[in-house]
Symmetry: C2
Subunit: 123 residues, 2 copies
């Protein structure tokens, strides 16, 4: 059986967790989890991080409605990093963009790859 | 212009870097970079991490030959995490598997999703 206690946490009791869109493969964000937030994520099916700034559980989308529904959790070889395959409601990024990784470095310059979702023309 | 000094590093001068296969979208691994390893990665086109255990540059694949060729570097909204889109030679994982995230949690149990690449029948 899987037990979060058998993961390797850092000095603050946290592991980085990558959220990836299970359907498109897009990497959406990286945040942090402690053992309890991992258990909550598995129990509820809603991805729940640990907010380092607020020192509190951060059930993604609880206030914004932009929830991350867990499709599958994966563990890396060193057991010190998680990959969350998710179905993301709306934007994952607090800026309103689909992903937090919207800035590319091209020819030494930063290039913004996308605008907030509400700014995009509807299909 | 992009300057690694304008990223937000942790207390150890590091940021987490996610490596993703640029073609398939597969998330391969997560490791850490300092400002110098980011510069080396951009200068050489070979993804170079900072090894926390060895406290030394870790030019991925330098000894194994399983190099990560940088296709594009991306920065997240908080500027404290990087996404490396790469072309990966051979396995990314030190266990010989294509990705480090080869363990899934399904129905409360850990399930191994793949074997080392050399064990796989050739196509």
């Amino acid at each position: 059986m899987f037990d979060p206690a058998n993961l390797t946490f850092d000095a603050n009791g946290l592991v980085p967790a990558i959220a990836q869109d299970a359907e498109t493969g897009e990497v959406l964000m990286l945040a942090w989890m402690n053992a309890d937030s991992i258990s909550r994520t598995l129990d509820t099916g809603h991805v729940t991080y640990w907010s380092r700034s607020r020192q509190a559980f951060w059930a993604k989308g609880e206030t914004s409605g932009n929830r991350q529904h867990l499709i599958e959790m994966r563990i890396d070889c060193d057991r010190d990093c998680l990959l969350m395959l998710v179905r993301q409601d709306g934007p994952a990024c607090h800026t309103g963009r689909r992903t937090c990784f919207y800035t590319a470095v091209r020819d030494g310059a930063e290039v913004e790859l996308m605008t907030p979702m509400e700014d995009q023309p509807s299909a």
